[in-house]
């Protein structure tokens, strides 16, 4: 029991950056912009958060700065792919490479020094509840934030006019435009929100989960986010499922190792699942039903 409680806590911590990043990825892609730059956005968030936290001594400021830095970077990406209508695959990959490079440059002076951690904040009363108290209610604020955001972002996407506009822009931008929705503005707004969330995911790694800065800290977690965005079929609630599934596998592989379960095989599971999802949604009927953004990756040109 004690073991499973501890494992459960580990799963929640391991899944949080993936969940935050995937929520960001969902909003970006829901608006019709491909998000292959997630790894770059995440690592820029990680390094910015760390640098600011070290210099100010305040990890919360670090998280804020991470959100702003990745938001700016996502907007720059937006200039290329929304306004200038550049190829989104190439631009996204370029964004990743740029992020990896600039983070290494920014972090040069910060390798080998400890930073103030994001402290765990047990929620009063709830954290004293048996089992659930330790499992759910004694984490750092970003864990709670990610869970609240999941519900909030799901609600906005499906139950509000704003969410409708986002989905319309990703589905049929011309129609949305005809309805009076500003396609460019929606796409920029989604990039800003998504970039900020992915940046916070990076800051969670460098300020709470690892917590330290070394080059290449994210080690491919941005790509996991890209895979999970598809796996969750662009739905925030399914993102929760996907992220916790992946985080669970990540954590459990170490507990299963002594029983001879090959960890390399377990590590491939999320990608295999993603490919399976891609196969399923390649059918038009399914695609329509789950609402995959039809205009994903297609630059929008307003017809005059």
């Amino acid at each position: 029991m004690e073991l499973w409680l501890a494992v459960g806590r580990s799963v929640i911590k391991a899944s949080t950056p993936l969940l935050l990043g995937t929520l960001g990825g969902i909003y970006i892609e829901r608006s019709g912009v491909l998000n292959l730059g997630a790894e770059g956005l995440m690592i820029v968030g990680a390094v910015t958060g760390f640098v600011v936290a070290v210099n100010t001594g305040n990890p919360a400021l670090g998280v804020l700065a991470a959100a702003l830095a990745s938001m700016m970077l996502a907007l720059v990406y937006g200039v290329f792919v929304v306004t200038l209508r550049a190829n989104q695959v190439v631009s996204g990959l370029a964004l990743t490479m740029f992020g990896l490079g600039i983070s290494s440059l920014m972090g040069k002076e910060y390798v080998g020094i400890p930073a103030p951690h994001l402290p765990p904040v047990p929620i009063p009363i709830l954290s004293r509840a048996p089992i659930v108290g330790r499992l759910l209610f004694s984490h750092d604020p970003l864990v709670y934030t990610s869970l609240i955001l999941t519900i909030l972002l799901w609600f906005i996407l499906y139950k509000t006019r704003v969410g409708m506009a986002v989905r319309a822009v990703g589905e049929a931008p011309a129609a949305a435009d005809a309805m009076g929705v500003n396609v460019y503005r929606v796409r920029y707004a989604c990039l800003a929100l998504g970039g900020a969330l992915i940046g916070v995911a990076g800051a969670y790694l460098s300020l709470s989960y690892i917590p330290a800065w070394t080059e290449g800290l994210t080690a491919g977690r941005g790509w996991v986010v890209v895979a999970l965005t598809v796996f969750s079929m662009w739905d925030p609630l399914r993102a929760l499922l996907g992220a916790y599934l992946y985080g669970g596998v990540e954590v459990l592989q170490y507990h299963l190792q002594p029983y001879g379960v090959p960890p390399a095989l377990l590590s491939t599971l999320p990608y295999l699942a993603t490919i399976a999802v891609l196969c399923v949604i390649s059918r038009e009927a399914v695609r329509k039903r789950i609402g995959a953004p039809a205009a994903l990756g297609k630059p929008y040109t307003r017809e005059v």
Binding site: L3, V111, H117, P211, A212, A219, R221, V251, Y254, P263
Partner: protein
Amino acid sequence: MAPETSRSIATFLIIGIVIGAVIGVAAGYFMPRPGMVPLSKLEELRSQVDALRSELEAKGQEIAQLQAKIQQLEEGRKIKAAFIYVGPILDYGWTHAHDVARRIVDAEFDWLETAYAERVSEADVARYIDRFVQEGYDVIFTTSFGFMDPTLEAAKKYPNVIFFHCSGYKRWKNMGTYFAEFYQLYYLNGLMAGALTKTNKIGYVAAYPIPEVIRHINAFALGIKEVNPDAKVYVKWIYAWYDPVKAREAAEALINEGCDVLAFTEDSPTVVEVGEQYTKEGKQIYTFSHYSPMLKYGPDTVVSGQLVHWEVIYRDILVKIYTGVYNTTNLENVDYWWMLREGAVELGCDFGVPINPKFVDELKAKVIDHPEFGRISVYDLVFKRLKQMSEPTVVFDPFTGPIRDQEGNIRIPAGMRADHDTLWTMDWFVDNVATPLPTGGG
């Protein structure tokens, strides 16, 4: 006959005799005799000696001038050494340690000029070597096991350049090998780990199941066994040299399963960070740092660790190249396998801090019955063993038999020490490691 005539004849005779005598004596005096130098020659010799002496003085000045010139030339002559790294210099692990050493020797010798290339993949290393050779580098260090074959190819291709490859076993007439080995330190860490554990479960986060890592885990386990035969070692493999997220998950998994001491072989300070976090939250976890000083990451958790001094090896190699001891024809048998005795490695979690002061009392309080030293505290035992392994003649080695593997087979017979090859190819765990070795790779 008239008297005047006879008198004048007598006078003539006397004068003749006198003159003859004078001439005879003079001639006798002045005739050269064997073994004797005429006075006139003496002067001549003296002047000759003087001439030689002044000539000598002039030559002496000439020699001094030439010597000064040689010295100047020597001082002006540079050795250009290039370092090729597999990782980024800021990984705070393997590559970082090599680069720290490069900077130390670069600052130490006026005649040394260095350059480096970081994040070089195995596929690219040959191109980087070509570039450095074209730029006139005399010595090229390649610092990853995977660079071994490309380095050997390059050594054959460029017979006038000296190559040194780190962690491999292939050599050539102009290619040597070197390695700073840690197993003695892991053994010393094991002594402390065995003394500190309360749960008798000791965790180890490991990169890949390769001989080097297995050797380190075994040395660590042997140290634990010496002070605490009941404790067992649990191993989690992360199948990466550098992946802080995986290292964190593996470390947490070990803690979840009840381990209260953690050691590791991978290239990030994550395990120490995890230990610090749990300790701060009220669960004391003891950790041992790896490769770089990590005391500042975990002042409440790090007990000791392993530190490297690559500069000791680089200094020795470069000075021997500079003074001509090593050249492009005699490196076939040059293999550095340096440890405590040579000062290539150091026990500690920071330079000069062999044991975190926070845990000294705890280690002094733990007293055991030791077959060799009798009743002794673990603290004293650590320093006794450290001294034994640091002396010019190493009187103790952790891999001294009898050592059994997990199946109970004797791997190293009683009284025998493991040789270089046994250590270099180790593919079995000692008997107090609880986790089986993975079969068939990952």
